[in-house]
Symmetry: C2
């Protein structure tokens, strides 16, 4: 069996920690049994390998997530990078094509697709084998995971079906997309299950879908024509239209870590970062990524989250309805982790005349890493080295630089920085369009510098 882990997009439901450059599955807000912090993707990846040590896992993700995946799971992880974000249906078709075309996986092979942002206990993964058995035993098209509902939720799809007394699985009658509260209540009373977002099928089933959608395509062809695929979910495009589906029931702990309300339930520590609270705070979580203190007094059922992007102060229940408020915010990301290290935006200022402005960043290049050889068209940069040392490259000339030096990079000049032991500098950008996209990249061989 092959596993496809769907590493989803830039959900804003965990704003201000998640942003376009920082998807929620990479946030280190969970704790492992030793108390070390870990992310959702780290937890689920570890759990998969514990249940299925031989599992071949492929991660469907965007190019923007590559650095985070390598950083958190290691560089050996097999990825299928989507050329753009389009929803689960295109992502699963692309991953299946990858298996068929690039990996020559036979059509009889069973594939399981799993979301990356569920918080579950270990027995959840044992179900994958059961689902494969059910699929084959019932000669079904798809096997779903049915999660026993604990309350009438409007946030999940439901599976209606009939459990078989002599089998460990049931037959799906139909699937209901996110219902209203009243319908959810009724579905729960009827004994319907939440759809856990796990899909198990033979690869050949997917191959037929791909052919129907795009004709006979290689991976490269599908990649090139990716934007022709509908921006739609696998639930809508496939599950809602497929006959002959079975489901395996799961009664264990299951939590989609999609909102602060559900995420904080799984957080062992109530506070993160510099937080001072009084004894009267009840059921309150405070997560502070800023360098200034948060003082929390007399709060009940509240979540406070502060990052360089903004500050959320919310009643826990209300935090589930965060999306439309965050959509009103159109700021650039103020903090990003990259392959070479990280940056934080310290200041943005418009000039009093014209379109000129300035942006100040704290840049940290990690030990043994380098910034790509790059050039900007619309800005000069002033780098003041505040810690460490490195090799500075300007128009092909390399020299050692250290704390206290100031480097002036004019627009049009090619430049880079590499550091064996790590280097920090304050970057002041001066120009008209101070965006990450104003960059041309070249190649440079650092040789034995790193």
């Amino acid at each position: 069996m092959k596993l496809i882990l769907l590493s989803g997009g830039s959900g804003k439901r965990l704003w201000p920690l998640s942003n376009e450059a920082r998807s929620k599955q990479f946030l280190k807000v969970l704790q492992d049994e030793k108390g070390n912090s870990e992310s959702m993707i780290q937890r689920i990846y570890k759990q998969i390998h514990k249940s299925c040590p031989e599992a071949e896992v492929i991660i469907a993700s965007s190019e923007a997530q590559s650095d985070s995946i390598r950083r958190q799971l290691g560089s050996q992880v097999e990825k299928v990078e989507e050329p753009s974000r389009r929803n689960t249906y295109p992502a699963i078709l692309l991953s299946a094509t990858y298996l068929l075309d690039k990996r020559q996986v036979p059509e009889e092979e069973v594939v399981a697709v799993l979301p990356v942002d569920t918080y579950v206990e270990q027995d959840y993964f044992d179900k994958l084998q059961e689902m494969e058995q059910a699929l084959l035993d019932a000669k079904a098209n798809i096997c779903l995971l049915g999660v026993k509902p604990t309350y009438p939720s409007e946030k999940y799809g439901y599976i209606r079906g009939r459990e078989l007394t002599d089998k460990s699985y049931g037959l799906v009658a139909d699937c209901v997309e996110k219902p209203d509260l009243q319908t959810a209540q009724k579905l729960m009373e009827e004994g319907a299950f939440w759809s856990g977002g796990v899909f198990v099928f033979r690869l050949g089933f997917l191959k037929k879908l791909i052919q129907k959608e795009m004709g006979q395509v290689s991976f490269e062809q599908l990649y090139a024509r990716y934007d022709e695929l509908p921006k739609s979910s696998f639930d809508n495009e496939v599950i809602a239209r497929t006959q002959s589906m079975v489901f395996v029931r799961y009664d264990g702990e299951w939590n989609d870590l999609g909102t602060w309300n559900t995420l904080t339930e799984q957080m062992k520590e109530a506070d993160g970062g510099i937080v001072i609270r009084d004894e009267n705070c009840k059921n309150t979580h405070v997560i502070n990524e800023l360098e200034i203190p948060i003082v929390a007094l007399g709060l009940q059922d509240t979540v406070v989250v502060a990052s360089a992007d903004g500050i959320l102060v919310s009643n826990k229940h209300a935090s589930s309805f965060l999306n439309p408020y965050v959509e009103q915010i159109h700021n650039r990301p103020m903090y990003e982790k990259r392959q070479w290290g990280e940056y934080k935006v310290l200041n943005f200022a418009k000039c009093h005349i014209g379109r000129e402005c300035s942006l100040t960043k704290h840049m940290h290049v990690e030990a043994g890493r380098s910034l790509s050889y790059q050039m900007h068209h619309l800005r000069d940069e002033v780098w003041t080295i505040i810690d460490g040392e490195g090799q500075f490259l300007l128009n092909g000339e390399m020299r050692k630089v250290t704390r206290g030096e100031v480097l002036y990079i004019k627009r049009g000049q090619w430049h880079a920085m590499a550091s064996k032991e790590g280097i920090d500098f304050i970057e002041v950008q001066l120009g008209t369009d101070l965006v990450e996209e104003d960059i041309e990249r070249g190649a440079w061989d650092w040789g034995n510098i790193l």
Copy 2:
């Protein structure tokens, strides 16, 4: 009658807006009748001149507040600057000595001392004339303002006394310092009054106190020996020990703007700065001085305040008990308004070895202002001009600088900046002790530059 306005110290009860450099009376959190924002000191100063257009007002303050007072009230304001902060007893003695010695005010003159941080209606100031009349009529030592209590408060002192049926004032029996809740309840039932912190006396009464404490002293002598005076309140040192006091009753609106709880009651706008809230927020105030957004969802009876110094999220009632939590914070001020403009700390970073560190600031010199000619012993500074232009002075040599220029100031070098139209720069400090106190100041005549 002379008025002494006591411009108090660095209260932390309105943290994070008030800090050591920014006392609460200068926060522009109130609105005048036209909706323009104003500070406590601006409001009270305006009210005094409305009731008593001829009033001579002296403001007792610290040197650190000089810039703020000039900025908010104008440069014509008469100030008595305390050499150090010691509480109200020394401050009133110093102000009285100033009137006697520097201004030659006769001993018969009546003086009123008022706190600067009360929120009152205009009729409060009409009481000052009544208090003078009462003092003279009763031949009393002191006349106090008795405020009709609206609830049994543990935060105020109480006046017990007897109102006279044929007079507009009453006789003070005794004063009770901040009582516990039970005693407060009892005092209220007995008909006691809150002490409004207003003291009216003849200057000669104060002269005797000064002589008893210090002998015959000039203003300069008292100023020089200021630290010999006890760090104690006027209530403790004088009110509690004085016979023959009267009081004038005040029934109007009276609110000491000492806590977020009471201050937000007077704020016409619930939000300040970049704030997004849902419709379910009730009795909630959000004040945001940061450049990142605050999203507030489903909050009740909550105050959220964010500044460069930190973030407070508090139940309104609990905000009255903020002090001990803020005392745990020992950060340097991250934002200061100065006579020359303002600065904001953007970043502080320790080096990976030794005691070296760096501090990054956004500096704004206002149009027509200049930084003092100065020198640092323990740090170099790199200034990158991001907006405007100015005259840069380095070791006596002056030159014009403009956006995009980088200025490197080594430790030991004398430097300054003046600007006719205003200038902004990013300052990166590199050294071992990056504190405001590492500064020597010299003189420079900018001549016709400004």
